[in-house]
């Protein structure tokens, strides 16, 4: 692998030199000499993901998924080999513009893939809007990315925060619950999910009686659980993820609330934590754009290939990374690998129907997946699919003017 990269580098240097002589200019870039040369050069893909810190497993899953999509196409997209440029964004929003610039200015990448943390994604959005580089966001759900910050070169293959809890609002009302309490960390993702749940739940005639917030990243829930018991709502909806989700689900059971007040949430609450929470999550219902036991041909093939390649079970993040690869492939196929034809590439991506393990999806005008949201139930150690909670749900893209 390393050797190959070295050869590729030398060839590019050689090409650069040749171009420079031909054009008699010191600024020997590839594009002036035309498509033929450019297509032989490797496609420069920047991966800006968390490879240290809490979100490391997510960054790794996305990377694995993306590379799997490339491998399935013989290691090439649009007929061109790939050269990766990797930056660890450390989930640090303060460094986001600098890290994005590193990829775009220093490494001169053709496309940026990233990231997990919404704060970092907002920083990336600023830079890619200024530079016009194509950006595919394989996770961060901040509504703004395909809302006020939307742009022709900005794409997302995951979800918007709005989507999953909007579908959940209907489900909770359909279960016959009239009142609900929403509990989450006090930060943008939590507030966005809360507000779309509230929209849907109250539109159906329910009443969100209380919004409970915990300062991020605290996990001392006892006071808020006591408050929930004193309010006695029909249902509780929670958004936490990772370690906080494990602790919340366990504390909910220990406080005796499980079985008395049903607990719902977006799927992030029960994804990747079921090994740790034991039976405390059993029977919980959540909504997400992916689920266990979808049992489609595509999903089965994907899971098998993923396990074979990485000796790991894929999760929703791997799917999102895989689809980022598929979306990029669609764009490059449309222009036969000529990445200079940005408009054509964007058109190709907009028109693509992505054959995702989660189920095929297309993109909305603001470039967010128009996708089915599944209702899942925790059975054993799996988030088993029960039904489709919302069919082809499109984010409203509030504030998107592009």
């Amino acid at each position: 692998m390393h050797k190959n990269e070295k050869i590729g580098y030398d060839r590019r240097e050689f090409l650069k030199g040749g171009t420079a002589i031909a054009a008699a200019t010191a600024a020997g870039v590839l594009s002036p000499t035309g498509i033929a040369l450019a297509q032989q050069a490797k496609l420069r893909v920047g991966l800006m993901l968390p490879y240290t810190g809490t979100y490391t497993p997510l960054g790794v899953a996305i990377t694995n998924g993306f590379k799997l999509a490339v491998q399935e196409r013989g290691g090439k997209l649009g007929g061109r080999e790939i050269e990766y440029f990797v930056v660890d964004d450390e989930s640090n929003p303060a460094k986001a513009p600098e890290n994005t610039n590193k990829l775009i200015q220093r490494d001169k990448v053709d496309v940026v893939i990233g990231t997990v943390h919404s704060g970092v994604a907002l920083g990336m959005a600023k830079v890619v809007r200024e530079t016009g580089v194509i950006w595919i966001n394989p996770n961060a759900g901040a509504d703004e990315v395909t809302g006020p910050l939307c742009a022709p070169n900005i794409f997302r293959t995951s979800f918007s925060n709005w989507q999953n809890t909007y579908a959940l609002g209907k489900v909770v009302k359909q279960r016959g619950h009239k009142t609900a309490v929403f509990i989450t960390h006090k930060y943008a993702a939590g507030e966005q999910m809360m507000s779309s749940f509230k929209d849907a739940f109250e539109k159906e005639g329910g009443k969100l009686v209380k919004e409970l917030y915990l300062p991020f990243p605290q996990v001392e829930f006892q006071a808020l659980l006591t408050e929930i018991a004193s309010i006695k709502p029909d249902a509780v909806v929670a958004f936490f993820s990772g370690g906080a989700a494990v602790k919340f689900i366990k504390d909910y059971q220990a406080a005796g609330l499980k079985g008395k007040i049903p607990l719902y949430g977006p799927g992030f609450l029960t994804d990747g934590v079921l090994e740790e929470v034991g039976d405390a999550a059993e029977g919980m219902e959540t909504t997400l754009h992916y689920a266990d036991g979808l049992d489609t041909k595509k999903d089965k093939a994907f899971r098998l290939a993923y396990v074979k390649a990485y000796k790991l079970q894929p999760d929703v993040f791997a799917v999102q990374g895989y689809d980022a690869g598929q979306l990029l492939a669609a764009g490059l196929d449309a222009v036969k690998g000529n990445v200079g034809d940005k408009a054509g590439m964007i058109k190709g991506m907009e028109a693509a129907k992505i054959d995702s393990p989660r189920g095929a999806f297309t993109l909305s005008k603001a470039h967010n997946p128009v996708q089915d949201i599944y209702l899942r139930k925790v059975v054993g150690k799996q988030n088993k699919v029960m039904s489709v909670a919302a069919k082809a749900l499109a984010d409203p893209a509030r504030g998107c003017k592009a």
């Binding site: 810190g53 006591t226 494990v246 366990k250």
Partner: protein, 288 residues
């Protein structure tokens, strides 16, 4: 909120405060007696939690894990004191900050190499794994009450050790004048080693007994570290009594803040700290 729920919230606040005390007491001891600013205190809390997790999954019992892990952390503390901290007592605080910040990075990396980056849960010991019903829909986990009991016992033991024993007298003397104590023929180096190890063991022990409640995850130490510094600053640097009072104040402020003014709950403990510092810049029980 009716009266019953008010009482339960009071209990929540006290219980959270006692837990904070357990972590903060080690920090204030090392800070006050040895003059060391130990930014790595949270890392020792994390080490304790990860030890509790890995040893309890090996032995199948949290109690056994704690019995094994406490001597390990005492040795870790003594080793670090001899190798590193000993050379910095007379240096400026900046050197200690640099060293202990470096230790945070080293411990995070070691944790990543040894134990990975995943979140893990630790089972509550079967004996304590039930809840007492308080109202028709709320129960109180017995393990939380047990932890509060352990915290109270340790607080009493610390008080006894420092105020009533000969060793405690030497520790207090060493804190106020190291050279004088040494010239009286007391092995001050040994005492410092012991105090440091005790502080580290307290932090690690807090991580261990809290592991079933907090779960075990990367960077868990930094969350604890910040709130502990708030406790130490409010209570007065070096005062164990102050740490106790400040912990309970913060526990209560945080608990009622979350319920009564959820919008600004994250700020309340810091506002409390600011108010105390304006009123008493040296902290509640500081020596000024």
């Amino acid at each position: 909120m009716d009266f019953a729920f008010f009482l339960i919230q009071l209990l929540n606040g006290l219980q959270y405060g006692l837990l904070l005390f357990l972590v903060a007491s080690g920090l204030t001891l090392i800070f006050g007696i040895m003059g060391i600013v130990n930014l790595a205190h949270g890392s020792f809390y994390m080490v304790g939690a990860y030890l509790a997790w890995s040893l309890s999954s090996l032995t199948g019992s949290l109690t056994a894990a704690i019995l094994l892990a406490v001597p390990l952390t005492v040795m870790l503390g003594m080793g670090l004191e001899r190798l590193l901290f000993r050379h910095l007592y007379r240096r400026d605080h900046l050197y200690q900050v640099l060293l202990t910040y470096g230790l945070i990075l080293v411990f995070e990396e070691l944790r990543s190499v040894l134990w990975g980056d995943d979140t893990h849960g630790v089972a509550v010991p079967a004996l304590l794994s039930y809840s007492i019903p308080l109202t028709d829909n709320l129960s109180y986990p017995v393990y939380r009450l047990a932890i509060s009991g352990v915290c109270l016992l340790l607080a009493a033991a610390l008080y006894f050790l420092i105020q009533k024993t000969r060793l405690g007298m030497m520790i207090r003397a060493g804190a106020s004048n190291r050279d004088m104590v040494q010239s009286l023929g007391i092995d001050i180096k040994l005492i410092y080693t012991l105090v440091f190890a005790l502080g580290i063991a307290l932090a690690a022990f807090a991580g261990m007994i809290n592991a079933p409640l907090s779960s075990v995850f990367p960077n868990m130490g930094s969350q604890v570290l910040i709130i502990c510094f708030v406790v130490v600053v409010i209570g007065g640097i070096g005062s164990v009594k102050g740490a106790m009072v400040a912990s309970l104040m913060i526990g209560l402020a945080d608990t009622f803040g979350q319920v009564l003014v959820p919008e600004v709950a994250g700020m309340i403990v810091y506002v409390l700290m600011a108010v105390v510092l304006v009123w008493r810049p040296e902290g509640l029980f500081g020596r000024g």
